[in-house]
């Protein structure tokens, strides 16, 4: 009385194949797990028997031992419910044993035997395909995810009865091509809706083109959030690999709503009260991806930047540097991708109106100083573009030229990215923002006039070493947007205009 099926456990975003063996032997009726079951798997102990019995199938009134191999890997996730149940069905010959080879199962069961939407199905499908398994049986709700993987037959089942029927050859799964993903509302956002704010719109374009992180400082209502939300609309479309990675992370986090492949770049805007685990990933039993990973290949927008907990902001340094987060817990260490563009926004002072032309700032100078001190630090060094967003007057809004549409700007961004990719491939980076600082000077390729401007800027603007490198990288991106081989005076001047004269406040160094 022995059955054996293949399941998949998901750790981080990676799926790991698990051989599920069931043995039904003499003894008091019981279900025992061996082979390092995690909390969620242990939790399934009392769920599986009712699910089987409510599916018109029989639960053996004998001692059942289920072993999960390999034994050194902790098995996590409710997706193990289905392979465990099927292994018992195999052991009791309720489904034919030969139907179980070459198939992987994943899905959470309800007490009634329904297959519930389960996180991480895309990761299940990817790892199954990689292991040469031809068929996956997954919940109906997650079928579109699994269908994204080439060379895999996807069986989308709604209940355990259907799964058993499929294995016996009495139930035909619906072809997945016919499964319609729920219509996702097309983003209504477009850069053209932004009135005025020419400099900020242009800075978004530069950020998108060079992969630069961006800091916006301005009064409430100046348009910082509105601008940030439009950054994804001018970023190049996700490549297939990027889209798979993004979908995988959202799948693991249980955030997919039946979509197959996410095609829009994520935009994540966690509130400043977010916990470290919420921002970077973590959790007690199961390690879940944090906001930095959910923003992978997209935009992480941190409004009220200096209200975030200091340790949470410190934790952003690793993902900003490496494009991934590594979470180490007692259960082991897990890695999540986290390559995002950071857009930070802050008020210039606690009340928000410092430097405003129409409203008076009521803050005490020392409060402003300590408020701004929180903005400094090593994290700020990783933000190439910084700008003040002025609150516009009605006349300025009405008098402004209508802005370009996202599609037009996006086309320039795409070309600029291509140029960088071609030029920087030999250095192992894809965009100017990721250029190592010491190389910025050489890679920027300044012409003679630009060199002279740079010298003058260093003399008179107290441009720090890091500020110097950042300015050059941004100037390089501006030149790439224009398709120019060398950085001209105009390109460099524009780059130098993206900085915040915090020297506006006495006793404070320029933050640019």
């Amino acid at each position: 009385m022995y059955g054996r099926v293949t399941g998949v456990t998901v750790l981080g975003v990676g799926g790991h194949l698990v051989t599920v063996e069931a043995f039904v032997g003499r003894g008091l009726p019981a279900l025992t797990f061996t082979g390092l079951p995690g909390a969620a798997v242990n939790d399934a102990r009392d769920r599986i028997r009712p699910a089987v019995e409510n599916s018109g199938l029989e639960w053996p009134l004998r001692r059942v031992v289920v072993n999960l191999a390999p034994g050194n890997l902790r098995k996590e996730g409710a997706g193990m419910d289905l392979p465990i149940a099927v292994s018992v069905l195999g052991a009791t010959a309720q489904v034919p044993a030969r139907a179980l080879t070459g198939v992987a199962f994943s899905g959470e069961l309800s007490l009634k035997g329904e297959l519930l939407p389960t996180p991480g199905i895309l990761s299940v499908a990817i790892s199954a395909a990689r292991a040469g398994i031809g068929t996956v049986v997954v919940p109906y709700a997650n079928a579109m995810e699994a269908a994204q993987v080439d060379g895999l037959t996807v069986v989308a089942a709604g209940t355990l009865t259907e799964v058993a029927g499929f294995l016996k050859g009495t139930w035909e799964p619906p072809p997945v091509e016919r499964l319609r993903p729920p219509a996702t509302p097309a983003t209504a956002l477009d850069l053209a809706e932004m009135r005025g704010q020419h400099q900020a719109r242009r800075a978004l374009e530069v950020a998108a083109a060079g992969g630069h992180n961006l800091l916006m400082v301005g009064a409430p209502g100046a348009g910082k959030t509105m601008l940030a939300r439009r950054l994804p609309t001018i970023l190049p479309e996700l490549s297939r690999d990027e889209a798979l990675e993004v979908t995988q992370i959202h799948s693991v986090a249980g955030l997919l709503r039946g979509e197959g492949l996410l095609r829009q770049r994520p935009f994540r805007a966690p509130h400043h009260s977010v916990s470290i685990a919420g921002l970077l990933g973590g959790g007690a039993a199961v390690l879940r991806p944090g906001e930095v990973s959910l923003a992978d290949h997209g935009v992480l927008f941190l409004d009220e930047f200096n209200e975030f907990r200091r340790d949470a902001l410190e934790g952003l340094r690793q993902p900003l540097e490496d494009g991934r987060v590594v979470l180490t817990r007692a259960v082991g260490s897990v890695e999540f991708p986290a390559r995002f563009t950071l857009v930070a926004a802050a008020n210039p002072c606690p009340c928000g109106y410092d430097g405003d032309t129409r409203r008076r700032c009521m803050c005490r100078p020392d409060r402003i100083q300590s408020y701004r001190a929180k903005l400094s630090g090593p994290l700020l060094d990783r933000i190439d573009l910084r700008l003040r967003i002025p609150r516009l007057t009605k006349e300025e809004l009405l008098g402004s030229q209508p802005g370009e549409a996202s599609a037009v700007v996006g086309a320039r961004v795409r070309e600029a990215r291509e140029r960088q990719r071609a030029r920087l491939a030999r250095l192992g980076v894809t965009c100017n923002a990721h250029l190592p600082g010491p190389l910025a000077r050489r890679e920027a390729r300044l012409d003679a006039l630009a060199e002279r401007l740079l010298e003058r800027a260093v003399e008179s603007m107290a441009l720090s070493g890091r500020g110097f490198d950042r300015g050059l990288k941004v100037a390089r991106t501006v030149a790439d947007l224009e398709g120019a081989e060398t950085v001209s005076e105009t390109h460099l001047a524009e780059a130098l205009s993206y900085r915040i004269g915090f020297g506006e406040q006495e006793g404070l160094e320029r933050a640019g």
Binding site: Q199, C361, R388, A457, S460, E494, S497, E504, E506
Partner: protein
């Protein structure tokens, strides 16, 4: 030490100006002054009246100890205070105390008829008597433009040997002090705290420089922290020390307004630098200009009005040495402040406008503030300094 609170209540005050002869002179009188300076309940005005009633500082101490003057808290305090300890604390920061008859006690304080300071803590150099001194005061929370103007006025005054007096605070005060130092001049900071308390902390360097090149003075004992009610009393000393008071920026009901009231009482000239009518920081200057203060456009006007220099022919509407395009951009800044607006007004492409704006900024003629561009005072006044 509330000088202001009883401005109107002292009608039966008949004390003559100044202090009785021998008040504060000699070792024991000095000790009494140190003790008296630690009291919080008795105002300069009451102390002045008491001094004339009893004739000496020791007499004042005795009167307070007996309860015939001062508050109960003062009585407890005067019994507990150790003059030697106060003196030790004062010596530790290199300060000294002056009685009203000591050399170096500014004779200008005699103009404070009813509340001249009975002692003065000084940290720094000797205050030469009868120099020309001008006070520059204004908002702590000022604009970049205000700071530049105050700095320029301080620099020009300092450069021709006029001592610049101010309150050592943030903003306009600090800019005026810095300007005086930059111009190679002498500057005096009148503090609302003890001369050993460098407040605000971030201005500690500046305050030490002031002590090095001029002096920090205060009525408050060493170790005393600045408190809000000290500032009006402090302002009366700033004004009394100076022959003229210049107000650069101040919002309604500001400390500058109090200084101006003192100046009118003491017969000092009042000057004010105007600003945009829309700016809250222009409220005080505009109000006092309407009340009769002299409008000045900068250091040139001030120096001319004070009789130090001929007024400069006012022909510099734009800095010299600009190219045609630069001049167009410069002129555009008169009416607009955003880079795209400048480009439109100057009929140049936006990138070109940005290039010129940055180039002008590097030359100190233009400044980027809050995502906008504006002309600097140096640019407008024609004088460019590092």
């Amino acid at each position: 030490m509330r000088a202001d609170a009883e401005r109107d209540s002292g009608s039966q005050d008949v004390a003559p100006p100044g202090y009785p002869p021998d008040f504060g002179a000699g070792e024991r009188e000095r000790g009494a002054l140190l003790s008296l300076s630690t009291l919080r309940g008795i105002t300069p005005r009451k102390l002045h009246a008491l001094a004339w009633r009893v004739g000496s500082a020791i007499g004042c101490v005795a009167a307070i100890r007996s309860g015939s003057a001062g508050s109960p808290a003062d009585r407890d305090r005067i019994g507990a205070v150790e003059p030697a300890a106060v003196l030790a604390q004062l010596n530790a920061c290199g300060g000294r105390i002056l009685g009203p008859h000591d050399p170096g006690y500014p004779s200008a304080f005699a103009d404070l008829l009813h509340d001249p300071p009975a002692w003065l803590y000084v940290r720094g150099g000797q205050l030469p008597d009868q120099p020309d001194r001008v006070a520059v005061v204004g908002a702590r929370r000022c604009s970049a433009l205000g700071r530049e103007i105050a700095h320029d006025i301080g620099r020009r005054l300092g450069g021709i040997g006029i001592h610049v007096v101010s309150g050592g605070a943030f903003g306009i005060d600090a800019a005026a002090h810095r300007g005086a130092l930059a111009g190679g001049g002498v500057t005096i900071g009148v503090l609302g705290s003890g001369v050993d308390v460098l407040y605000p902390r971030s201005s500690a360097d500046l305050l030490l420089q002031i002590a090095g090149r001029g002096a920090l003075i205060s009525e408050y004992p060493p170790g005393q922290r600045a408190e809000p009610h000290h500032f009006p009393a402090r302002n009366r000393l700033v004004v009394a020390l100076s022959r003229a008071v210049v107000v650069v920026e101040g919002a309604g009901r500001s400390g500058s307004r109090i200084s101006v009231d003192h100046a009118l009482d003491l017969g000092r000239d009042v000057f004010a630098v105007p600003g945009p009518v829309t700016s809250p920081l222009s409220e005080t200057p505009h109000e006092i200009i309407r009340d009769g203060a002299t409008l000045i456009r900068g250091a040139d006007d001030l120096l001319a009005d004070l009789g130090y220099e001929q007024a400069r022919a006012d022909d510099a509407v734009a800095p010299a040495g600009l190219t045609d395009t630069e001049l167009r951009v410069w002129r555009a800044l008169a009416t607009t402040s955003l880079s795209d607006g400048v480009a439109r007004a100057a009929h140049v492409a936006i990138p070109e406008a940005v290039t010129i704006l940055i180039s002008l900024e590097l030359r100190g003629l233009v400044r980027g503030v809050g995502g906008r561009y504006e002309r600097t005072f140096a640019g407008v006044s024609g004088g460019i300094e590092a």
